[in-house]
């Protein structure tokens, strides 16, 4: 077997760590950008959102290739020596999920602002209190957005394969392991890994949903 059972916990941990970090990193720019965008009255706003919406399903393998060309030793960011490191996958996945995250956030934020912000202000709240109120109301939905973005990140293959290189014990994650298992004809292992990924996502999604229900109570 190319991938032994002893390696599995490491691979799963690495996947969660990499994709989880990528999701947080992406939120760091997606959330402020989306808030700014939703408050703006710029005429090109809708076209910009249109572009972001259409980028949601962009082929991950192409994102991977473009990032490879950027991070490669002979590429423009080659001196950072990021190619074939977990960090490269983190940055790649963070960029990959940005359109999805911004598209989802945009709807959430627009609704919150138009409903809760106006409501708070009209009830005589200070701007500061109104902001808090909006944040509070948005939080449960924000969690769902994070969850979906994380799901996209952990389930993608192209970026992890091209900028990570599927290096044993270093950049090998669940999806690249599945690809390798298929290449080696070890279908049982591939299916098993798929089940692990699915189980993980179901557990996580259920937890988030329960948490949301509890928050909204």
């Amino acid at each position: 077997m190319l991938i032994t059972m002893e390696e599995l916990p490491g691979i799963i941990m690495r996947s969660i760590m990499i994709s989880g970090t990528a999701t947080l990193l992406s939120t760091a720019w997606s959330l402020p950008l989306t808030i700014k965008l939703s408050l703006s009255k710029h005429p090109l706003k809708e076209s910009l959102m249109g572009i972001l919406n259409s980028l949601v399903g962009f082929p991950t393998v192409l994102v991977g290739l473009l990032l490879y060309l950027v991070f490669s030793s002979s590429g423009p960011l080659g001196m950072l020596r990021l190619i074939y490191t977990p960090q490269a996958i983190i940055i790649g996945e963070a960029l990959l999920i940005t359109p999805l995250m911004m598209s989802l956030l945009y709807e959430v934020v627009c609704r919150s602002v138009s409903v809760y912000w106006e409501l708070a202000i009209s009830l005589g709240a200070s701007k500061r209190r109104a902001t808090w109120f909006v944040m509070e109301q948005t939080l449960p939905e924000l969690m769902i957005v994070l969850l979906m973005s994380f799901s996209r990140a952990i389930g993608e293959l192209g970026v992890a394969l091209l900028v990570g290189g599927n290096i044993k014990g270093f950049t090998r994650v669940i999806t690249t392991s599945i690809a390798l298992a298929i290449e080696a004809g070890e279908f049982d292992l591939a299916v098993f890994l798929g089940m692990v990924l699915l189980t993980m996502m179901i557990l996580l999604a259920t937890t988030v949903r329960l948490l949301r229900a509890w928050l909204e109570k």
Binding site: L2, G10, M13, R14, M17, I18, G20, T21, A22, L24, L25, T27, A28, W29, L31, P32, I35, K36, L39, S72, S73, S74, G75, G78, I83, Y84, P86, Q87, I90, A94, K127, T131, V134, M135, G165, N166, I167, K168, G169, F170, L180, I182, E183, A184, G185, E186, F187
Partner: protein, 301 residues
């Protein structure tokens, strides 16, 4: 709202930086890392991991890591300067990169055979033929009559280059014929496709035996497996240290280990217990002969 979102963004960036630092600590600490880009057949058979473990016994500070892609891509990674060593099986492609000064000090370290595989019914009647060119001609005729299909890798891999070379020698051009299917993917998926289509295809023997053993292939059997045109020569090259920033010293040690008596012995015995036959033959003792073959093949693509 502005200030809050800036604070939030900063907090998240800090958290993700900490996390990515932690994910660094998930990785094994080795003082020296040698990056090897390799053709898939050497990797999926498990040979390279096996050799790397043996090297680690000798040099515990060294970690050899593999990026397993097709031969064409493996050489391109070298041209970008992202690896220290290349291990591939496409003489005609290798020659181009040697001429461009990307790779140096090439040496043949193993060989085996390409095999023509096809459905056990063998509609083109090629089983047992000594001459692969004749076999391809028969497949062409059977294809034209609608009796059989042929699946080509179509991805400029070492196997694909060899297949094109054989077609070239038949004087026939299968490209564009209805029975000539281009998979454009790796060896395993190509074999799976051929298996489902009950078609013929050219494979390296290692991947075929591995998939056969895993029970993935139901219809395909080995039909033609000998002849000098089917010799599959695996070479190891160092990425040119005068052009790229590479780990010269340790790359050389890895190469020397592969070519040493011990390394060659490990290659010779690898897979015997699992597959009944050795998947790769060591180059030792036959290097002159193989070098000649390599030269011939490097002209052929």
């Amino acid at each position: 709202m502005k200030r809050l979102s800036i604070a939030l963004a900063t907090a998240m960036i800090i958290v993700s930086l900490v996390l990515s630092y932690l994910s660094l600590s998930l990785t094994p600490k080795a003082k020296v890392v040698i990056r090897v880009s390799t053709t898939t057949s050497l990797y999926v058979t498990g040979l390279l991991d096996h050799l790397a473990e043996e090297l680690k016994k000798r040099y515990p500070e060294v970690e050899v890591v593999f990026i397993s892609v097709g031969s064409g891509a493996a050489l391109e990674l070298a041209a970008k300067g992202d690896v220290d060593v290349v291990m591939v099986h496409a003489p005609s492609l290798e020659k181009k990169y040697i001429e461009r000064g990307v790779i140096v000090n090439g040496a043949i370290f193993a060989y085996n055979y390409f095999v023509l595989v096809g459905p056990s019914e063998d509609p083109a009647r090629v089983k047992g033929l000594e001459d692969i060119v004749e076999a391809f001609k028969r497949i062409y005729q059977a294809g034209e009559l609608g009796h059989s299909c042929f699946v080509s890798r179509g991805d400029m891999s070492g196997t694909h280059v060899r297949e094109l070379m054989i077609w070239n020698m038949t004087g026939l051009n299968p490209k564009g014929r209805l029975w000539y299917v281009e998979s454009g993917t790796g060896m395993s998926k190509t074999l799976m496709l051929a298996d489902n289509l009950k078609a013929y295809t050219l494979s390296d023997i290692g991947t075929f035996l591995k998939l056969k053993k895993e029970g993935v292939l139901k219809n395909l059997v080995m039909l033609v497996s000998r002849g000098s045109l089917l010799i599959n020569v695996y070479s190891i090259h160092l990425v040119n240290p005068s052009r790229y920033e590479v780990n010269k010293e340790y790359a050389r040690r890895w190469m020397e280990f592969i070519l040493s008596d011990d390394g060659q012995e490990l290659i010779a015995s690898y897979g015997k217990d699992k597959y009944g036959v050795a998947l790769f033959n060591p180059a030792k003792g036959r290097s002159e002969e193989l070098k000649k073959m390599w030269n011939l093949l490097s002209e052929g693509g």
